[in-house]
């Protein structure tokens, strides 16, 4: 579904990614771990199309309608409409715009792109309620303004709610687990596990093993210095938890 070949990228003149190779198939969950500053967040932002990040080499191929397409040639909003979702590490506050209106706007843009009918407010509220129930989230979330005055945990839960509503084919979660208490972490895990199917793929960017106890990955990659220096299965994450990154960094 996603094929990244020799990808390099820079931001503000600094080369961050230096030749990433990653292959993700439908149905898989990948975890990307690594020390601070290794390029984990940059990778997810480049996939989603952040304008501040300049791709200096390599390709990203993403399957659209069962055919490989050049993801880097698509505008970020088109990527979203084609099923790419980025859960932000620092979601933006939009006071004056209710969560319900924002989610409906987003959902309807995606529907329109895929040739589906737009949903009216009442129908959408019903639809959103089901998703909230699934995540054990309070319905009042819908009437609050987008992330305005939300705690860190509430912002992350709101990202998961958006993901549940948009039902992406490729979900990138950028440190969605950081700063969460155990209850919020469970909600995040619940949302991700509910999304998991043979049609979707999930890439988790995380520092911690604890999220991976709740969402068991098929593949674990260690990113350091802009390259993937080690890949393995879930046991790699457990080993990193025990031994840290230094033993890997010394080897390279």
């Amino acid at each position: 579904m996603l094929e990244i070949k020799n990808l390099s990228a820079r931001v503000e003149g600094n080369d961050i990614l230096k030749g990433i190779n990653l292959s993700v198939k439908a149905g898989e969950v990948h975890a990307i771990m690594g020390p601070n500053g290794s390029g984990k967040s940059t990778l997810s932002k480049v996939i989603a199309g952040h304008p501040s990040y300049e791709v200096t080499g390599g390709t990203i191929t993403y399957e659209v309608n069962r055919r490989p397409a050049d993801l880097l040639a698509m505008e970020p909003d088109v990527r979203a409409k084609e099923g790419v979702f980025l859960g932000f590490q620092y979601p933006v506050e939009i006071p004056g715009v209710s969560n319900l209106d924002f989610l409906r706007e987003s959902f309807n843009e995606v529907c329109a792109h895929q040739g589906l009918d737009r949903m009216d407010e009442e129908a959408f509220r019903q639809f959103a309620r089901q998703k909230l129930a699934l995540l054990d989230m309070d319905e009042r979330f819908l009437d609050r303004d987008v992330n305005a005055g939300f705690s860190g945990g509430e912002k992350k839960k709101n990202e998961i709610l958006q993901m549940a509503i948009l039902n992406p084919r490729l979900a990138l979660l950028d440190e969605t687990d950081s700063g969460l208490d155990i209850d919020a972490l469970r909600i995040v895990a619940k949302g991700v596990n509910a999304l998991r199917s043979k049609h979707n793929a999930i890439i988790l960017v995380t520092h911690y093993q604890r999220l991976l106890e709740l969402i068991v990955p098929d593949h674990v990659h260690v990113l350091a210095g802009g390259r993937i220096i080690k890949s393995g299965d879930r046991t790699l994450a457990q080993e990193l938890e025990k031994r840290g990154y230094d033993w890997l960094l010394e080897k390279t």
Binding site: K45, A48, G49, H50, P51, S52, E75, P76, D77, R79, A80, K81, V84, F85, L86, F88, Y90, P91, V92, E93, I94, P95, G96, V97, F102, E105, S106, E109, V110, H113, D145, Q162, L166
Partner: protein, 347 residues
């Protein structure tokens, strides 16, 4: 009640000095003594032309009370004299509307003073309209008794020039909130002076100047903390397009004996075009040593991170920009309590 009156222009000279460095008003032709009669249709009305003081329970006319506020020496603020000013006493819980209406090429000069009895509560909505010619000069004063509360919101859509002055004096535990939205293509000078004179007095001021074209907006504010344990919170936002200019000068004065004061000031400018221009100058005069005083200023365009957040949800660039602009504006209106906020948000 209808107030119509004109000051003789020959007595007016535009104020000079640092406080008026960026904004100069020429006297309109119509205010020359020879033309006064011709522009006598200009008016200040209260709740429309039919308002009388008797028709609003809790409101009675009273004697004008002079108080020495931060703009006591400002020539424009003091322009309205006896025949075009009105003092009203407020008891209980009162809701009022005050319109400054200026017809074509006219000039309006008026002042209104509210004296709130202890524990009284006033909710005041103010609209200022005018077309391209002329000048409005409106001064509004609140003398707020112990434990009394003023909630005031205004919207100015004057296409000409205007000088709006607000002066507030707060006794112990009195509270005031003023939230304003200035639009228009002319030149606007806002002056807001607040004296926190009693313990636990609390003042909030939030303004949005939304300017385009050649518009010019100048906000000058003073918070004078004369008493310990007083609080003030100011949000000064400007949304600027075209070649609009916005000036913010915010003075905070904390007297030597006024300990444990909490004073916050934030100025944010969002520039939608390359030729828009903003300047912010905080002026902090702090003589007490145990105070919390924070101020900040930012000027910029809609950020890439913010836009990207919306793009990544499938919302196209133009809609993303509109939503983020709405968010910038909304923060100001949120400072107003319920009913006033709805009026500010209405198109």
């Amino acid at each position: 009640m209808k107030l119509v009156g004109f000051h003789h222009a020959t007595e007016i000279s535009a104020p000079t000095g640092e406080a008026w460095r960026y904004t100069k008003f020429a006297l309109p032709e119509e205010m020359r003594p020879a033309n006064v009669a011709a522009s006598a249709h200009a008016e200040i009305t209260l709740s429309g032309n039919s308002f009388t003081t008797r028709s609003v329970p809790g409101v009675t006319a009273c004697n004008w009370q002079d108080f020495v506020g931060p703009y006591a020496a400002d020539a424009w603020a003091q322009l309205p004299v006896a025949e075009n000013r009105l003092a009203l006493q407020v008891v209980g819980d009162v809701s009022l509307q005050f319109d400054v209406l200026r017809s074509s090429s006219g000039a309006t000069v008026g002042a209104l003073q509210f004296q709130l009895a202890p524990g009284a509560r006033l909710t005041l909505w103010q609209e200022c309209h005018g077309d391209a010619e002329g000048l409005s000069v409106a001064t509004l004063q609140f003398i707020v008794g112990e434990g009394a509360e003023v909630n005031h919101a205004f919207r100015s859509k004057d296409q000409g020039n205007s000088v709006l002055t607000f002066e507030t004096q707060l006794a112990a535990r009195a509270r005031s909130t003023t939230v304003g939205h200035v639009r228009g293509t002319g030149k606007t000078r806002l002056q807001a002076g607040t004296i926190l004179a009693g313990t636990e007095a609390e003042a909030r001021l939030a303004t949005l100047m939304q300017l385009g074209g050649q518009a010019h907006g100048d906000l000058h504010s003073v918070f004078r903390h004369d008493h310990a344990d007083t609080r003030a919170h100011q949000l000064a936002k400007n949304l600027l397009d075209g070649e609009a200019k916005a000036i913010f000068t915010g003075r905070v004065h904390i007297a030597r004996h006024a300990q444990r004061v909490d004073a916050r000031q934030m100025n944010r400018n969002l520039l939608l075009s390359k030729k828009a221009w903003a300047v912010g100058q905080p002026q902090l005069e702090i003589f007490a040593d145990d105070v919390k005083c924070g101020h900040g200023s930012s000027t910029g365009q809609i950020g890439d991170d913010e836009t990207f957040y919306l793009l990544s949800r499938g919302i196209p660039a133009d809609k993303a920009r509109a939503l983020l602009t709405r968010a910038f504006v909304a923060e100001v209106f949120y400072q107003a309590p319920g009913s006033l906020r709805e009026r500010l948000e209405a198109p």
